[in-house]
Amino acid sequence: MMIEPKFPMDEGLDRFEQDLKSLTPKRFPKELPARDPNWLKIALISWLMGLAAGVLVSAIWTKLMNGEVPIAAPNQVTQKVALSPNSPTTTPFGSLQPGVFGDGLLVGSSRFIATDLDDDYVLQPLMRRNTVNGSRRFSGEASHTSREDSATPNANSFPKYQGQRQLLKMLMESDDLISI
């Protein structure tokens, strides 16, 4: 409480002042606006931002899990890298464990391989060999070489899924390649 220094006031003036004070000012017509505490606003905004981020992350995660994001890496491998046997990027597509990416992903990736034969590192060596074998066959050695290839895989052949490879080879070596 502030203690005011004593200021003398004339008695008549003091009475007049008290008289004026008897005129009570009217009540203020408006209410003081309620103020939200700042922390409440901050908490509300943080919560909304967290919610939005959560929804976004879960949407991206779902998209990834459904395999709708194309994995283009295998098709972008250059011919040179694809031919080196020990390079991790030359792991044949067929040797991937299905459980790693799921069946849906494999199906999706196979579609890429089938539609882009020029860049395909699985079929390219076979097709190249097919060309060589074709020329040999025309010169009378075809059946022998073919059998030899399937029995003793070289460094460029793939150890797993031999049955599939065999079938592919047969198809490639067939005379009517275009109809396939």
Binding site: D19, L20, S22, L23, P25, K26, P29, L32
Partner: protein
Amino acid sequence: MHSDNLQELFASLSNALVLYARQWCRTPEDAVQEAFIDLANCSSEPTYPKAWLYTTTRRKAQNIARAESRHRNHLEQLIQERGADRADEYWLEPKTRNQIAASEVLEGLDSLKPDQREMVIAKVWGELTFEELAELMNCSPASAYRRYVLALTELKQRVLAASTPCVNKRNSGLP
């Protein structure tokens, strides 16, 4: 400032502040409201919150007055229409304890110099101390006291001069 303190100040000061702000503008409630909002948003509490409120209300009212002057014609028409009820607008009682009419007090206040009117309203109805009045008027407490006494004396003379015919009329028994 703490919400409870703010509510307390609002309850005790808002009425007098409206009276104070009406010197400059026609919507004094807005000026008072804005001043309280500013006080609520103050990072540190002012040394003299009452004086601070009066100073801020004055500034807000002056700003509003500037905006009002842009459509002065419309306001003047409003003032003419509502002129008769001006005293009722600000005070509950029509007369003081000693039977001085509120309208005469208002007229007397309006006839004072602006700084005198400011001081009287702030001191009488705002109940500011001379220390706070000095803060508001940007002078020393002693100077605030002197100026206030002078302003109050002038107001008394004008109000009594205006109310004397009524008193004489009452004393003479005329209707």
